[in-house]
Subunit: 111 residues, 2 copies
């Protein structure tokens, strides 16, 4: 009967999947690019540029914020969003770590 399925997914696997999910929509990648390119974190501008309704953009922003990739502050009637560089650096490193750890075994490939 072989071994039991006792292995739940590890913390790091879950966290990586969470970050990947945050990046798993072109609108959210576009938002990150916009936030990075503009020195002002104008939120309304994003709605103008993206082919999505304001409420949908707001939802994507919320997901990015929940994932920790961006942070937002209230600026008068407007909202100011920015990339959370600390978290972003962490994600970058985690992905890099995954990639490099996978590649260590590269030589053994059989197909």
């Amino acid at each position: 009967m072989a071994s039991a399925k006792t292995t739940e997914f590890s913390e790091s696997e879950q966290q990586l999947a969470t970050f990947a999910k945050a990046l798993a929509h072109p609108a959210r990648i576009a938002i990150l690019k916009i936030l990075a390119a503009q020195n002002e974190c104008i939120c309304g501008k994003i709605v103008e540029v993206l082919p999505l309704a304001q409420s949908t953009v707001s939802q994507h922003l919320k997901e990015l914020k929940t994932a920790g990739l961006i942070k937002g502050t209230i600026d008068g009637p407007k909202s100011c969003y920015c990339i959370n560089w600390d978290a972003f650096e962490a994600v970058n490193k985690e992905f890099g770590f995954l990639f490099s750890s996978l590649q260590k075994e590269k030589g053994k490939a059989c197909c």
Copy 2:
């Protein structure tokens, strides 16, 4: 009325999102780790290790294959899956490119 929402998402944004989606589930990350760690690409072993039904694992494998991250060959009654290192290297570079291009603007952050 500002500018029209003519900007669809770019090719690179869509492709990145597709790859991210492939990584957006802990089971698929776990599968990649298993494939990388074993010098044999035994498929059935994955089912034993993961807390998922065989059909579900098969589905995840198919998604990874569709995304191009792995490739599979038939080995008798069994199936042999391996990481597609070429594609993987491409993904790695694309992510790295995204991260570094975003970070170029880092100094301008406003919040």
